[in-house]
Structure formats: structure tokens, C-alpha cells
């Protein structure tokens, strides 16, 4: 049994076309014109237990709709979906005992009380056995290092501390799969790392399936082995993160520092100058046109190099280029990835 | 002279913009008129039953119809008045009040124009709805003449200005109290009784009537309503005079306290 099975999932909404002005408002009430929005179009994917999946896409891509269908909040227009063998919208309450969810923008912890009170409430919500609850609680307190935080009112915690407690709350009942929607949004670098570490720790020790949505490329790189990119309601890319990088690593950047000052404009064949300062340059080039060794060779020959750094394109760029490519091209790529 | 003219234009513009934005949500405002319709529907039945039970045609000089039109006006004003205290208390609490001195307008006058513009739309809709109810169930006002219209209009506007001053003072209490909503509630309740909203002051036992007339609250509701229901110019003038008097007093206190508040905030922060 897969943890998540989706086949040809489709979801369209009929929304009322609202025109501006008083006339428009009146029309919307008496003879409304509808707009059919296809939020999700024939999505199919399978997720095994214990996988960590990055489910990403630009805003309006259909991510939230898909997650809402998987958690039973919405039912689809067509297709099938099963989570842990259950159909979410039919067996929502039953499924609820086995899934956890954290929506970055929608808090679960009661604001004026310390997290421990919400934890206790959750133990009642999930009808946890008192011993199992205590064990789970202690485990999470250690794993997330939140012992000193849980007795402080939530309103006094920093965003990072709060998110750790939010995630802990969603894990008290030992769900087999958790849906994390933007868990690191708004957090500083340190907090982001803490959250990532805790999720990874959790996955490694409990084998929890993780379904992660994030706009943060760092989340994806550090946590996920597999990534699915979705846009306009369709799956654009479904493969390993490593494959993603390999496929798109046609661009590289080199930062160089020289011993002498640079005279006039810096020029080298086959490379683009991104930045230039008194003693250094940042160059960009396509590796299929100009191999890395050639560039480095030329640099070393022409000038006395003090320092040199070779960089991959940032994950964001990679993802953005996928978002922006037309659908057919991407389908071919995905297919060839599978073959690799 | 030119300065006054530009000032007037500026604040009128503020009032008008608010008028526009209120009418953009005519649906919302119309819905709020449901309140006054229900209230007056109930009050018509209550007072008609009360008058017929007592057997008298007039009590303290007011007939049942007078009383009902009196209530139309008091309810209209109370449902259309501003909630300035909420706005100003929020700005006190987050300290943004201090920044308003940087704006090229007077904070108090700005908000007053804003409130008046907002109230104007509500006044029209609420009065229309309330008047319709009483018109259909009882009849047109008996003692109101066309000549009284200007007095009435001015009195209503002065009433709203006076109320605005009270609301402003309450809002500034946010310095001492975390939450001024209870103060605002108490003020509104004072208006219910001492302002003469629920019962005309003429029906009060002597001591209470005297107390209410001595306090300024009756000038927000009872005053304009009385002008509406009793077409006497001399009484109207007295009310207008008293309204102006109390506005002067309250507005002065408000301006002074506002200045102090801004100073305190710009030194001490939010």
C-alpha cells in the first residue's frame, strides 16, 4: 500500500465573475456569469511510506487544492486519491487520527496559553492513551529541544520557537504522514535550520512520510530526496532532487580575485561578466559551450589568481526555469529522467 | 480668508470620499438598516399598547405619534454615530498617534470630517427605514413644520460633533486603560438613559429629568429629537445654543488632551 496514491485527480471550481462597479455587483447577484477554474488537472502520483516529498509550485499552481483534497477538506471533480488506503473526503475523521498537518500561516496553538495546554488538548482530541501521550511528548520535547518553551504563553514565543511547538503539536499522535505547508515561512536562518533538522530527525527515527510544500529552495535541498513541481494544476516534474540539479546544471558561475588591479573592461571569450570590482570579477557561462576547465585555464594564464570559487546556479533559478517552460518540453524531460 | 476656504475644501473632500466609499457598500449599509426597522417595529407596538393601556392621549404633552417620531430620530442618531473611540484608542496603543502630527492636516478635524461623512450616509438610510415603519404603522409627524428643517439639520450635525468629542475623550483614555471598549459601552448606555434614547426625558420623574438636562448627554439625542417633535423655534434655539456651548467646552478639552497625548507618545513611544 502506498502512503499516497493519486490518479487522474481533477478539481475545478465555478466562481462568479465579478465585474467592477455597481452594475457589476448587481449583475453578479441576478444573472451571474461563471468562470470555470481548473485548479487541478489530471494529477497522478504515488508516494511510498517514509518518503519525504517536496511539493512545490508558484502561487495558484494548485498545491493548496491538492493538499486540501488529500486531507479531506475538499472533494475532487474527478479522479481518485487514497491516503494510507483511505479516501480522504469519505473517511475524513478516520484518516484524521493518522495524519498531521501544519499550515505555516494558520496557527493551531492557542495564543494566550502555553503550548503544553494545547498539547494536552490535542491528546484529548486524538484520544491518546495517557502513557502513550507522555512518551510521545517527552520524545518530542527532546527531539525539538522545547522543554523550556512549552510552559511559556505562545504569544511570548518567537516565530521560530512557535513553529517548533506547532510542528510538535501535530506529531503528538504519531501520525504516519504529515502535511507541512510552508513551515519555515517568515523564519530567520537559524530557526529555519532548526525546523529542518527536527523534520529530518523525525523522519529518520519514526519513518514518518512527509509531504512538504515550500517556497524556500533551502528546505527542499536539505530535506527532500524527491520533488514534484506543479503548475497550472499539472505535474511538471516528478523526480529526485539530485536529478533536478544535474539536468539543469548547464550554467556555472565563477568568482575570481586577482593579485593586480584590473585595467579597463574585463573580457573573455565565451563568458558573461556579472560583476566587476577593483580586484575581482564574477563570471557566468554555459558549460556545454565553454567547459569549466577552459575558463579556469584562461583565467590562470592571463592573470595571477589569488582566489577562485566555482558555483552552481541557485535552486531558485532552476525551479523558476521549470515554471516558465511550456508544458510539452517538461514532459519530455521527466520521461528521460525516469529512464536514467 | 483664503486659508479658511482651502481648509474647508480639504475637510469636505475627506467627508465626500468617505461618502463615496460608504455608498460603494450600499448593500452593507442597507443591511444595517434592518436593525432600525426591527427596533422601531417593536417600539411602535410597545408604545401604542402602552398608551392605549393608560387611556391617555398625551403624556407630558407628547402624543403616541410624537413619541414614536421622537424615537425614530433618537434611534437614527444612535445607529449612525461614529465609533471614533475605537479608532483613536488603537492609535494610542500602537503609538501611531505620534506620527499623525507629521501629516499636513489636523488629526482631530480629519477624523471628524471622516466620521461625519460616514454618519451622513447612515443617517439618511436609517432615517428613511425608520420613518417608513412609523409612517406605515402610525402616520406622519404631527407637529413638525417645514420651517423647522434647518434647525433640525443643524442640531443633528451638532449632536454628532458633540458625540465625536465624547468619543475622542474616551479613546484617549487608552493611555490609562488597556481596553476602552467598556468605557465606550458605558457611554453608549448613558446615552440610552440620560441621553433620552429609550424614553423621552419628558417622561422622567422630576429629579432624573433635571439631572439629565443638566448633563450634556441629552444634547446628543433628546435635543434634536425634541426639535423634530415639537415645532417651537425658541426651544430649538435654546437647544442649539446649549449644543454649541458644550461642544466648545468638550472640544477644547479634547484638543488639549490630544496635544498632551501626542507629546507623550513622541517622547516615550508606543
Amino acid at each position: 500500500m502506498h502512503a499516497v496514491e493519486i490518479s487522474f485527480l481533477t478539481k475545478s471550481f465555478r466562481t462568479v465573475l465579478r465585474e467592477p462597479g455597481l452594475k457589476g455587483s448587481l449583475r453578479a447577484v441576478f444573472s451571474p456569469r461563471y468562470l470555470n477554474v481548473e485548479a487541478v488537472k489530471d494529477i497522478s502520483l504515488n508516494l511510498e511510506e517514509g518518503e519525504i516529498l517536496a511539493f512545490i509550485g508558484p502561487n495558484g499552481a494548485g498545491k493548496s487544492t491538492t493538499i486540501k483534497i488529500l486531507t479531506g477538506i475538499l472533494f475532487p471533480s474527478g479522479g481518485e486519491a487514497k491516503v494510507l488506503g483511505l479516501t480522504p473526503w469519505k473517511d475524513r475523521q478516520k484518516l484524521a487520527y493518522h495524519i498531521g498537518s501544519v499550515f505555516g500561516q494558520k496557527p493551531q496553538l492557542w495564543y494566550h496559553l502555553p503550548p503544553i495546554d494545547t498539547f494536552n488538548l490535542f491528546s484529548k482530541i486524538y484520544e491518546l492513551d495517557i502513557n502513550a501521550y507522555r512518551k510521545s511528548l517527552n520524545f518530542l520535547i527532546d527531539a525539538f529541544d522545547i522543554g523550556s518553551l512549552i510552559t511559556t504563553p505562545v504569544r511570548k514565543l518567537s516565530l521560530g520557537q512557535r513553529m517548533k511547538c506547532e510542528i510538535a503539536a501535530s506529531l503528538l499522535h504519531k501520525p504516519r504522514i504529515i502535511f507541512l505547508d510552508e513551515p519555515t515561512i517568515g523564519l530567520d536562518v537559524v530557526a529555519k535550520q532548526q525546523i529542518r533538522d527536527t523534520i529530518r530527525h523525525l523522519h529518520d527515527s519514526e519513518g514518518t512520510t512527509v509531504f512538504l510544500t515550500s517556497h524556500d529552495a533551502g528546505d527542499i535541498e536539505s530535506l527532500c530526496k524527491r520533488v514534484i513541481i506543479i503548475n497550472h494544476g499539472q505535474v511538471l516534474y516528478d523526480n529526485r532532487v539530485s536529478a533536478l540539479k544535474r539536468r539543469y546544471l548547464t550554467k556555472k558561475a565563477i568568482s575570481v580575485r586577482f593579485a593586480e588591479k584590473i585595467e579597463g573592461q574585463f573580457f573573455m571569450e565565451g563568458v558573461e561578466v556579472l560583476k566587476m570590482s577593483e580586484y575581482g570579477v564574477k563570471l557566468q557561462f554555459q558549460t556545454d559551450a565553454t567547459p569549466v576547465e577552459k575558463v579556469i585555464e584562461q583565467l590562470m594564464q592571463a592573470h595571477s589568481v589569488v582566489d577562485i570559487t566555482v558555483q552552481d546556479p541557485p535552486m531558485e533559478e532552476i525551479i523558476r526555469s521549470i515554471y516558465e517552460k511550456p508544458p510539452e518540453e517538461r514532459k519530455d524531460e521527466s520521461a528521460s529522467e525516469e529512464a536514467e | 480668508m483664503k486659508r479658511i476656504r482651502t481648509l474647508l475644501q480639504k475637510y469636505c473632500a475627506v467627508a465626500v470620499i468617505n461618502l463615496h466609499s460608504s455608498t460603494a457598500y450600499t448593500g452593507e449599509v442597507a443591511m444595517r438598516s434592518i436593525m432600525i426597522t426591527v427596533i422601531l417595529y417593536v417600539l411602535v407596538h410597545l408604545w401604542k399598547a402602552a398608551y392605549s393601556a393608560s387611556g391617555a392621549t398625551a403624556i407630558s404633552g407628547l402624543t403616541v405619534r410624537d413619541t414614536l417620531w421622537y424615537l425614530v430620530l433618537t434611534e437614527t442618531i444612535i445607529l449612525s454615530k461614529s465609533a471614533f473611540s475605537t479608532r483613536i484608542s488603537e492609535e494610542v496603543r500602537d503609538g501611531s498617534l505620534a506620527y499623525t502630527i507629521m501629516r499636513p492636516y489636523n488629526y482631530i478635524l480629519y477624523h471628524m470630517s471622516y466620521s461625519l461623512g460616514d454618519s451622513l450616509v447612515k443617517l439618511l438610510m436609517n432615517f428613511a427605514a425608520g420613518a417608513l415603519v412609523v409612517l406605515l404603522l402610525e402616520g406622519p409627524p404631527q407637529h413638525f413644520t417645514i420651517v423647522m428643517i434647518p434647525f433640525l439639520l443643524i442640531s443633528v450635525i451638532l449632536a454628532l460633533v458633540l458625540d465625536f468629542c465624547f468619543e475622542g475623550l474616551i479613546g484617549l483614555c487608552a493611555f490609562i486603560l488597556e481596553d476602552v471598549s467598556s468605557l465606550q459601552l458605558i457611554y453608549n448606555k448613558i446615552l440610552f438613559i440620560l441621553g433620552g434614547m429609550l424614553i423621552p426625558l419628558d417622561f422622567f420623574p422630576g429629579w432624573l429629568a433635571a439631572l439629565s438636562k443638566a448633563l450634556p448627554f441629552n444634547l446628543v439625542l433628546y435635543g434634536p429629537a425634541r426639535i423634530f417633535v415639537r415645532g417651537e423655534i425658541s426651544a430649538a434655539l435654546t437647544i442649539l445654543f446649549l449644543q454649541c456651548l458644550w461642544i466648545t467646552v468638550m472640544a477644547t478639552i479634547l484638543f488639549l488632551l490630544y496635544r498632551k497625548a501626542v507629546k507623550y507618545l513622541s517622547i516615550n513611544g508606543g
Binding site: S101, L121 | A50, A53, S182
Partner: protein, 267 residues
């Protein structure tokens, strides 16, 4: 099986109420000011009736003590109802803002969970007023009368919570119904707190059915004032009907919400 489930939901409700109380007591001063504020609010209406009955000895069979009794029932019912189910007043907002999702992914009965997740703090002031006015200003008190009063207030509270919630459910069907629901709840209370005998015919019928003002005010009053257990029986029936109506309307609305065709849903 169903009994066990019901019991577990009841226990859960109690837990929520405890948490709400704890949350409120975090701000002791606010708790007190809100309650006292509501007490004063109710007292003003009481003052109105005192002044009113100074002028008119009685109106269509109602005197001062009758009005006080009526009002004590409604305030107590309202107070208890909203102390336990504070979100009855916020349903329209919650649905319109898509905050239902939080409740949907948890393994609890959604309706009860939503309603009991908040406690209206000022409601405790209503309870205080209701109790005080019943014992001191509503006429002679006996054990039987007190029992009737407790039950009548409780049932009145049930109808109040259900009708408020039903109004709130309009958000499922017409988008943001916050203002409309607010107006409807106010209209309902206004109709309820005045003597019902001043109305005739069609309106009175309405008050006993669709807009259950009479179920909230006049009928419980009748039961207590006349020590009329039969009226209490009718009231119980009415209250149960409204509970059923709420469950039906809510589930219909929920179905609509889950299809995604509810307007203004934040997707």
C-alpha cells in the same frame, strides 16, 4: 456506540471550556471589565423598564416583575449558551475566512468543536445579571419556580445558540454573511426581550417558528411565571427541533464548502 461517541464529545467540550476559561483568566482585569460592562449593559435595560412602568402601570398583561423575569431568563440562557459555545456569534466569519479547515483535519465532530472553541467572556456578566435579577427582582422565588427557571433558561440558551449558528451558516451559501448574520442575531434578541403580547397575528406566528424569539423569551417566561410544565414540554420540543435544524443546515453547508463552490473560499 453512538452513546459512547456522544459521551466522548461531551467530555471534549468540557475540556475546551476549561481551556477557554484558563485563557480568559490570563487577563484577569479584562475578564472583570468585560463581565461588569455587560452587567451594566443589562442593568440599563432594567432601568428602562423601571422608568417605563413608572409611567404605565402595565402593558398587555405585563408589569415590571414580569419583564424582569423575562429578561432574567434570556440573559441567563444567552450567558450560559455563549460561555460554552462562544463561536455561535462568529460562525459567519469563521466560514467566510476559511478557518473551518483547522477543524476539518482533526478527528472531532466539527460543529461542536467550532462552537465550543471559544467562550464569550462578557457572557459571564449576563449570567450574573440573570441570576441576580431572578432572585431579587422577579418576584417571589420557590424551589419549583427556581427549577423551572433553570430549565427554561437552559432551553432558551439552546435555541439562542442554534439560531445564531444557523444564521452564521449562511456564509456557506451566500459568501460573507457576517453583517447579515449579525443583523439577524440582533433582530432576534430585540424581538425576544419585549412582551410578545404587543404583537399580533402573522408576526407572532413567525416568532414561534422561523425567527424563534418566542422560544427564547415568551414561552420560557410562560413556563416559569405560570409554573406550567406543559409549556416547558413544548419548549423542549422546540429546542430539539432547532438543534436538528442546525445539524442539517450545517452539514448541507459543509458539503457545499467541501465541493469548493462556496463563495469567497480562500483556496
Amino acid at each position: 456506540m453512538i452513546f459512547n461517541k456522544a459521551l466522548s464529545e461531551l467530555r471534549f467540550m468540557f475540556e475546551l471550556w476549561k481551556m477557554n476559561l484558563a485563557s480568559a483568566l490570563e487577563y484577569r482585569a479584562n475578564f472583570i471589565t468585560q463581565s461588569i460592562g455587560m452587567l451594566i449593559n443589562d442593568a440599563i435595560f432594567f432601568v428602562f423598564w423601571v422608568l417605563f412602568f413608572e409611567c404605565f402601570k402595565s402593558v398587555k398583561g405585563w408589569g415590571l416583575q414580569d419583564m424582569v423575569l423575562l429578561f432574567s431568563i434570556i440573559t441567563t440562557g444567552f450567558g450560559v449558551g455563549l460561555a460554552l459555545f462562544g463561536n455561535a456569534l462568529k460562525m459567519a466569519e469563521i466560514i467566510a475566512q476559511g478557518r473551518l479547515d483547522y477543524y476539518l483535519v482533526l478527528p472531532r465532530n466539527v460543529l461542536i468543536h467550532i462552537l465550543a472553541s471559544r467562550s464569550q467572556i462578557s457572557a459571564y456578566g449576563d449570567i450574573l445579571f440573570g441570576v441576580l435579577s431572578f432572585f431579587f427582582f422577579a418576584g417571589p422565588v420557590s424551589a419549583e419556580k427556581t427549577l423551572l427557571w433553570l430549565m427554561a433558561s437552559f432551553l432558551s440558551g439552546v435555541v439562542i445558540v442554534c439560531s445564531f449558528s444557523i444564521f452564521g451558516c449562511l456564509s456557506f451559501f451566500i459568501g460573507n454573511a457576517t453583517t447579515l448574520a449579525g443583523q439577524a442575531t440582533n433582530a432576534l434578541l430585540i424581538l425576544a426581550v419585549y412582551p410578545d403580547t404587543i404583537f399580533q397575528g402573522g408576526v407572532r406566528f413567525l416568532m414561534y417558528t422561523l425567527l424563534p424569539a418566542a422560544l427564547i423569551g415568551a414561552l420560557p417566561y410562560k413556563a416559569v411565571q405560570n409554573m406550567d410544565w406543559q409549556s416547558l414540554g413544548f419548549l423542549t420540543g422546540g429546542a430539539l427541533l432547532f438543534v436538528l435544524l442546525l445539524v442539517v443546515v450545517f452539514n448541507m453547508g459543509l458539503r457545499r464548502y467541501e465541493s469548493g463552490s462556496a463563495l469567497n473560499v480562500n483556496v
